[in-house]
């Protein structure tokens, strides 16, 4: 693989649920979870995917690892097509992409030692066994800041932060190109969060792994990411590199998100301009016409309910889907 090749290339992906064979044979509503999404992630890059519950970010993550089939579009991981791949091909592709979740306690088998947990992907793939396996597990434990002797312990003997380290070690066992991190620090205590964020940064520097970092915490996103993508009701509404994004957010939804996340500084927090959105996220089974955000948007005009704005490039390189931004 060449250095320039993107680790992830998503083209025009749409994922819909339901619609046929509902209760009593009636067609149910179609939930359009993801619609017309394009995204590239380069080697060693960290892209943040930001949005609220129901915006489609988890569906998109699942689609990338091949757990969810899209109705259209293409997903390539290190050049290999995920969509339409058969089981064997998918198996090969999945070595290159791994996923970690919010709550490490739910991601670990309570009855397996962490050594067995971290070693399992290596055994399944036939990468290592016996002594070599033990050594590899020890190295992985050290890479994530644990000790080799921890291999014999069970998940309940670890704190939340240590468990997340175990989860990360397992995800890295097969040296993936892309790691999808779904809210990896949200369930952790504040003092432990910083440790895990530092670890993710250090691992990236060492291995060149790329991250798709799903999060709602813009403080964390600003710290760890190179590029930010904002998703609302299944579509990207803004994408920009980190500095542009935070210096000059453009989409009204992005601005609302930034205004809603409280800054850990009372002076800044209490003097900042507030843009509190009315209402709630509409159901993805019943997406508003035109721009999906127009029902909550302070800038909305007539055109917004009629015509859906496309993502267009701006002078500073940001891409925004808004008639008025």
């Amino acid at each position: 693989m060449s250095e320039q090749q993107n680790v992830l290339e998503i083209r025009d992906v749409a994922v819909h649920f339901g619609g046929r064979g509902g209760l009593l044979g009636k067609a149910g509503p179609v939930v359009k979870a993801v619609n017309g999404v394009d995204l590239d992630i380069a080697r060693g890059e960290t892209v943040a995917l930001v949005g609220e519950s129901g915006c489609g970010k988890s569906t998109l993550s699942n689609t990338i690892v091949g757990l969810q089939a899209p109705i259209s579009g293409s997903v390539r991981i290190s050049g290999e097509e995920v969509v339409g791949a058969d089981r064997r091909q998918l198996n090969d592709i999945r070595r290159k992409v791994q996923m970690i979740f919010q709550d490490p306690a739910l991601s670990l088998d309570p009855r397996s030692t962490v050594g067995a947990t971290i070693g399992e992907p290596l055994i399944v793939r036939g990468v290592a066994k016996g002594r070599a396996l033990k050594e590899r597990v020890a190295t992985l434990l050290q890479q994530v800041g644990l000790r080799p002797e921890h291999a014999d312990r069970y998940p309940h003997q670890f704190s939340g932060g240590q468990r997340q380290r175990v989860v990360i070690a397992r995800a890295l066992a097969l040296e993936p190109d892309l790691l999808i991190c779904d809210e990896p620090v949200s369930a952790l205590d504040v003092s432990v969060r910083a440790q895990i964020l530092n670890l993710l940064v250090a691992l990236q520097k060492r291995t060149g792994v790329s991250y798709l970092f799903v999060s709602h915490d813009l403080g964390v996103v600003r710290h760890i990411c190179d590029r930010v993508v904002v998703m609302y009701l299944g579509r990207f509404v803004e994408m920009a590199d980190r500095d542009t994004f935070f210096a000059n957010p453009k989409h009204p939804y992005t601005k609302a998100l930034m205004s809603a996340v409280p800054e850990a500084d009372p002076q800044v927090q209490r003097s900042k301009e507030r843009l509190i959105l009315g209402g709630e996220l509409p159901s993805p089974a019943n997406i508003p016409s035109g721009c999906a955000f127009h029902t909550r948007c302070p800038l909305a005009t007539e055109i917004c309910s009629k015509e859906r704005p496309e993502l267009t490039s701006r002078a500073d390189g940001a891409r925004v889907a808004c008639h008025h931004a």
Binding site: E52, P262, Q269
Partner: protein, 330 residues
Amino acid sequence: MDAANPLLSVDRLTIDIGGANVVDDVSFTVAPGKVMALVGESGCGKSLTSYAMLGLLPPAARRTAGRIMLENTDLAALSERQFRKARGKDISIIFQEPSASLDPLTTVGSQIAEAYRVHHGVSKAEAYEKARQMLVDVGIPDPTRRLDQYPFELSGGMCQRIMISIALICGPRVLVADEPTTALDVTIQAQILDLMKKLVADRGTAIVLITHDMGVVADIADDVAVMYAGRIAEIAPVHDLFRQPKHPYTALLLASVPKLDDAPKADLATIEGTVPTPNEFGAGCRFTERCPLATDKCRTEQPPLFDCGGGHRSACWHIDRMAEIREVAA
């Protein structure tokens, strides 16, 4: 802090579980219309402290010392029977997960009305009218229709507004809010925090806010008590605490939150190690093992809460060495 005229004062509260003081000598006061935040990590005792105020301690937990004075009543000394009269009317609580606190089989209108009828001998119709007004106050559109809906028909943010309605319908003077926005999306969190600010201002309710989110504290709190392993490490008016923390734990906690002006991907300050479990509590300061300033004295002697002036108090032997922490954190 309006120490002269507190509505609620927790005085040297100590709670024991299995022989360990999981809440140890905790004192603070809250004035009407003020928000006192109890901040800390899991296991620091912030939730137990608040449950004690409502007589909701788990069976294994026992209050061994201290008082919780709501004006002239010691809540900690109430019988369960007396507590039933006080809860809802004098002091209420809302929890993190509203959908887990609401009865899924009962309409929200009947749940709000019930809270009112328990304390007031009024007709159902009258209680429903009260409930409807309450929904207007918490900003729920189309309240008449909402009253007849069940919790599953409402979003998380709506359910939390219903919880707040139930908690406030009898006009309690104190509201305990245990991580009230942790389960909500950020734009909804902003709505709920604004609602709480408005209620405090309009009704003069005193709020005890339990949270681990420094951003929420910065947004809404008047005073902050930082708890660590069952004790208050530091207590101060909110601006003083953020501007000039006087306990190493607070300073490191604040430094570990990514800031606007941080360089991207730079190392964040961390607190090494983990919170001690109750059976690891030593004789000295409970933060010793993780503290960059720790000396022998810290290991053997528990620091009292030193008064630093202006309502700012810190339980640290080395307040004069805080500049060193700022170096570590920078």
